[in-house]
């Protein structure tokens, strides 16, 4: 089936003789992406901006929903399951508005051969974009089917209702959806206005429907691209250069070619790989070839001992004004000033990146856990010198990614190797040390804040600067792919550009939501990237919220005001206030006193200043002798707008808290002047069970009828902030450098 449907990517839906609606996927051939993570891909003006969600990118209803004559319903989303539960939530939305059982829906996710182009699955945007678009499309499809039935039954549409996959008349007559489908019926443009079902009539949305993907994952079903076994499939491994600037000088292939199972050794410039019949044969050949390859390395990395200095030493390319309220500060009496840092950190998927490629009949098919099948296709096509129409990228789940990890790079590897060994599928998985060393890291950042209080204890001025690379070097361009940079004819990385967008990038959440009469927020944009970087869950919001919320606590202490109260005094948005009050109440902020060596802290942010609201209170315990910090409990309140799946929101939020806790307590990439040296779980430790809190509570605000706000990244910044503030409460010391590891804590508290 490879290549099916991709030869004519602009075709619109057409009809099989039976009257089935074949979904078209009117691909508006524009690589678009969401949420300001757009450093390298230009966003063109939207075609129909008044249409809700992703319908504005592809307005044709049957791009999203297909109904077959036998009643089968297929829903198409350009978003991908990353372990965040998006498949389940989209099925719930579609089933709700189509008035069918969730089990009646087959969901097809990101596939350049079948689904609309929804850019990247990133930025906690899937519900706002795809969820909203599919919800409106489902309502409109249902209304069209009711209209069809009204004509057939000679009844008014208001006499009919949809129920269990059929339109039902008052006298009980039922016309199943499949019988109502006619030629081109759904091949029409969506309309901007839709009467969404009110929350009090929900059957499926708002319930904790179990995740559709979990049963296979816990019983050994084929759940991941890593589990793919195509007929005659080969296994490959890459021999990566030992460091960023290393060039392959020579290698001795002959002994390796004689090894059992070895099919091919592929070399193009500094891209070197082995292809073998079986996986462990490929690994043994990779190891053998590694010892027979000679590289020329270059000491290109900056000194790592002083991270703030490293970041500050990178020349500032350009300043971006993120926010500016030009009023002369009035009556500043006290000032707080501090510098905060965040190191390079990894995505660290438990399963190293993997892809399967097949080059057959002039068509390249790549099964990949990329976050963006269309941008990945564009990059791979450019790398291979093929027309994009002859490349198909099919999303297949991988291990959780948490942003732009090595998924796209593995897809490029698989494509190159499949191209070199045509006719047989080639599966390539990265080794642990390759994933750790070569994935694009979350960029190191330095922030500096100077904030002033007036005599009534209110913030009178706020000056905030941040130094950061871009947080997005995703495909689109072939130069975003690691292997493409290593080819004899290399594709250089695209030059990063400063862009100030509403969603933010390195500057995400740099502008505090608090009401402040005079403020200036500046991004000192660093173009040079000594270490490879890109999007890590929450982008700049992690370090910015840590900095802003640490400062809020210091200002509260200066003002002699309780930190919860201090925040509330500076917040006008009632939904922001509600999550803070909720988290504080549920924690028992007003009534709980901390035992010795325990502390409590709060962190708050509205993600991107326009998405989910999240407040988190944590209690920590500090072992003074060792400097070990343990989170005892965490209580969060989140407002994600209309709730589709409460347990899904809880699961994502619990996970966000624990992952951000791991970043905050332990994690920093290490390197010497040439090589990345954090290359496994021993040199880059993360959270283990011994340090998991006693409890985590997540309280969800009920917001019936409100737009979806997304969930997945809301906890990252507030978690770092709450931990830092709790540590301050426990020790009296302000910690400004992440991670808050044992050595640092011990040093600062002088134990």
């Amino acid at each position: 089936m490879t290549g099916l449907g991709i030869e004519r990517p602009t075709r619109r839906g057409l009809l099989a003789g039976s009257g089935a609606l074949i979904v078209s996927f009117s691909m508006l051939s524009r690589a678009f992406c969401q949420e300001g993570e757009v450093q390298n891909v230009g966003r063109e003006p939207e075609v129909a901006p008044e249409l809700p969600g992703s319908l504005s990118e592809d307005p044709i209803l049957d791009s999203w929903i297909r109904i077959d004559p036998d009643g089968g319903i297929t829903v198409f989303t350009g978003k991908a399951e990353l372990g965040q539960g998006v498949k389940t939530a989209i099925i719930q939305i579609a089933a709700e508005e189509l008035e069918v059982d969730p089990a009646a829906i087959e969901l097809v996710t990101a596939d350049t051969g079948r689904t609309p182009n929804e850019g990247f699955t990133a930025g906690s945007q899937s519900m706002q974009n795809s969820g909203t678009g599919i919800r409106h499309a489902a309502v409109q499809v249902r209304e069209i089917l009711i209209g069809q039935a009204a004509g057939r039954l000679q009844l008014g549409v208001d006499q009919l209702r949809a129920e269990a996959g059929a339109v039902v008349a008052p006298d009980g007559r039922r016309l199943p959806y499949g019988e109502l489908v006619e030629d081109q019926l759904l091949h029409i443009e969506a309309v901007p206005q839709t009467r969404l079902k009110p929350t009090d009539q929900f059957r499926i949305m708002g319930t904790s429907m179990p995740r559709v993907d979990i049963p296979a994952k816990v019983t050994g079903g084929p759940a991941y691209v890593q589990d793919m076994r195509l007929p005659r499939m080969l296994h490959a491994r890459i021999i990566r250069p030992p460091s960023y600037q290393a060039r392959l000088l020579e290698f001795d292939a002959a002994p390796v070619e004689q090894m059992p199972g070895v099919v091919s050794i592929v070399r193009d410039g500094s891209f070197l790989a082995v292809v073998a019949e079986k996986e462990f044969q490929a690994i043994k050949a990779m190891r053998a070839l590694s010892t027979r390859a000679r590289w020329q390395e270059e000491a290109s990395l900056p000194p790592s001992a002083d991270l703030p200095q490293l970041v500050r030493d990178i020349p500032v390319h350009e300043d971006g004004i993120v926010a500016e309220v030009l009023a002369a500060p009035v009556g500043v009496e006290k000032t707080y000033e501090a510098t905060f840092t965040r190191p390079y950190q990894i995505h660290g998927s438990i399963g190293p990146s993997c892809a399967v490629g097949l080059f057959e009949n002039g068509v390249m098919t790549v099964w990949t856990h990329t976050q963006g099948v269309y941008p990945d296709r564009k990059a791979i096509a450019e790398m291979l010198g093929m027309p994009p129409e002859q490349v198909r990228c099919i999303h297949t789940e991988g291990s959780g990614c948490y942003g732009h990890n090595a998924a796209d790079d593995a897809a490029a590897d698989a494509a190159l190797l499949a191209h070199a060994v045509p006719g047989r599928p080639v599966r390539v998985q990265w080794m642990r040390e390759q994933e750790h060393a070569w994935e694009p890291f979350g960029p190191a950042m330095v922030t500096h804040v100077r904030a002033g209080l007036n005599s009534s204890g209110r913030i009178a001025e706020w000056n905030y600067e941040l130094w950061s690379n871009t947080h997005t070097t995703r495909p689109g361009p072939a130069g975003a792919l690691l292997a493409a940079r290593h080819l004899a004819q290399p594709f250089p990385p695209q030059e990063p550009k400063l862009q100030i967008t509403p969603s933010g990038n390195g500057d995400r959440n740099a502008d505090p939501l608090y009401t402040i009469p005079s403020k200036r927020v500046v991004w000192h944009f660093l173009k040079d990237m000594p270490l490879r970087v890109s999007a890590l869950r929450a982008l700049g919001a992690y370090a910015n919220v840590f900095s802003v919320e640490s400062t809020m606590d210091e200002l509260a202490i200066m003002a002699g005001v309780d930190p919860v109260e201090f925040r509330l005094r500076h917040l006008d948005d009632p939904r922001a206030r509600d999550v803070i009050v909720k988290a504080a109440e549920q924690f028992g902020w007003a009534t709980t006193t901390m035992p010795p060596n325990h502390g409590r802290g709060i962190g708050f942010a509205r993600y991107k200043n326009h998405a989910a609201y999240l407040a988190l209170v944590v209690e920590v315990e500090v072992e003074r002798d060792s400097g070990r910090l343990r989170i005892v409990r965490a209580v969060a309140a989140i407002d994600s707008g209309e709730i589709v799946n409460p347990d899904g929101i809880r699961n994502q939020t619990e996970g966000g808290i624990l992952q951000a806790a791991s970043w905050t307590l332990y994690e920093a990439v290490s390197f010497d002047d040439t090589r990345i040296t954090s290359i496994d779980w021993s040199s880059y430790p993360i959270l283990r069970f011994g340090a998991v809190p006693d409890s985590i509570e997540v309280h969800i605000m009920d917001r019936p009828g409100e737009p979806f706000l997304g969930t997945a990244e809301a906890a990252q910044g507030p978690t770092a902030a709450a931990i830092g503030n709790a540590l301050r409460d426990a020790t009296g010391k302000r910690f400004t450098d992440l991670p808050l590891n044992r050595a640092r804590v011990k040093q600062l508290i002088g134990a």
Partner: protein
């Protein structure tokens, strides 16, 4: 070289070099998905399976050590249609995000609960220490293992109508 391995109660003869880690034989020769490659170093636990009831890192255990021993993978705990108590517990607690680490977690927990189905929270945490989760599903994994212990105990109780599928 032909090696005979007993996996999930069935005997399999595979052609493989003796230094091949069990993980690759399970995945490539026997077509089992449960054990996952995570690090190849015994640092993350996503490849965990049971050998004679004890958890081992299959990524660093060569098959030459395994003839005559009983190997159990997550596929041996039940099926999607008839999940065993450990699998039921993980489904009921929705204890997965990406799920990649989960089979390894389940096998390590299975080894603990087979010794001590009433293991408490501290014992479960200690037992799971070698296994990494990156999505932050830890709280649910802990709940699921406690629930699995309860399911095993009630299945083993006198008069229980259905036996545990493990």
């Amino acid at each position: 070289m032909a090696v005979t391995l007993s996996v999930n109660g069935q005997s399999h003869t595979v052609e493989s070099e003796l230094d091949t880690p069990l993980l690759y034989v399970l995945r490539d020769d026997l077509g089992l998905n449960g054990a996952k490659y995570g690090c190849g170093l015994g640092q993350c636990g996503s490849c965990t399976v049971l050998v004679d009831g004890a958890p081992v890192f299959s990524c660093v255990t060569p098959i030459l050590l395994l003839e005559g021993r009983e190997i159990t993978t997550v596929e041996g705990l039940g099926t999607v249609d008839e999940p065993g108590p450990m699998q039921r517990a993980f489904i009921e607690e929705q204890a997965a995000q990406c799920g990649y680490c989960i089979p390894g977690m389940m096998m390590r927990a299975q080894a603990l609960l087979e010794r001590n189905p009433s293991a408490g929270d501290a014992e479960i945490r200690a037992a799971l220490e070698p296994n990494l989760c990156r999505c932050g599903t830890h709280m649910r994994i802990l709940k699921a293992v406690r629930r699995a212990g309860q399911l095993m105990q009630s299945a083993a109780a006198p008069g229980a109508s259905e036996g545990a599928a493990s």
